[in-house]
Symmetry: none
Subunit: 153 residues, 2 copies
Amino acid sequence: MGNLADYIESYLKRLLKGAEQGMIELQRRELAEMFRCVPSQISYVLGTRFTPDRGYVVETRRGGGGYIRIVRLSFRPSQDLASLIEAEIGDEITGRRADALLLRLEDEGLIDEGDRTFMRAVIDRETERIHPSYRAAVRASLLKAMVMLVLRD
Amino acid sequence: MGNLADYIESYLKRLLKGAEQGMIELQRRELAEMFRCVPSQISYVLGTRFTPDRGYVVETRRGGGGYIRIVRLSFRPSQDLASLIEAEIGDEITGRRADALLLRLEDEGLIDEGDRTFMRAVIDRETERIHPSYRAAVRASLLKAMVMLVLRD
DNA sequence: AACTGAAAGGTCAGGAAAGGTCAAAGCCGT
DNA sequence: ACGGCTTTGACCTTTCCTGACCTTTCAGTT
């Protein structure tokens, strides 16, 4: 994990952990100076790591006194678990989005790394035997089934 | 066993043995240089020797600072369980046989009644959407995935 | 109220640095 | 000679990082 984007990401996540209400506010230019990079690098990190997919919302404001606010969304089900999972995963899902979701669950402490790796292995294994055009659907079914099984209670 | 792929395989396995958390991280290009071969040779070794079937998961990242991470599953589909499950379930299974299997697992005290009814419900739900001719296959995948997930460790 | 300049953040394209793919050639045992 | 692993190399995709240029907001001036 040697690249700059990763460092910035983990710095921001550390800040978020220590923050009230799972929300932080900062300035792009300042942060860029701190990491000695161009400001657009910060935008890059936000755009690739703090996406809704991964459970974050970013609000910004330009101009004097501008800021960037990062809000962490909690996966904690407000409704019932099944419909939340249904909404997140749907009938089909790419391998990438599946990874992102598992990572997010790990990030939130809902599953551990072993769970994540295991589920990934199962998905890879079951998925590669079948015809490519059904993969996305089977992947979704498997993911939903396993996540529900692990998260229920 | 004099071929390059075998040497690379055993080198990686040696690294894995000495690694904390049964996980190593390396760069494809570097490793290729070390063995004086083309990078795709590394991919070949990973694709043929470090498969989920054999108890490994490989995660990679491209681009600057890219890496390859090899994780050994702690629940290495312990011959017993994995092959038992594979043998019992196979590539396809009817709803009836699935029920029977779940009941048997409950009988043997390997899962409780809650697990069983939950898994059944998940299978029914995921299975009803899809085309009838694929149900048996998807049912098998789901069942295998969930049973392994619950029985692992 | 309108104008203007400075101070944010946004966008986008391009180059460099990984790893991925796939088909063809090579090698080896039967 | 054949079939199945191995190896190689040409070409592709993804990710990171930077820099040039754009837009928005605010504060002060006219």
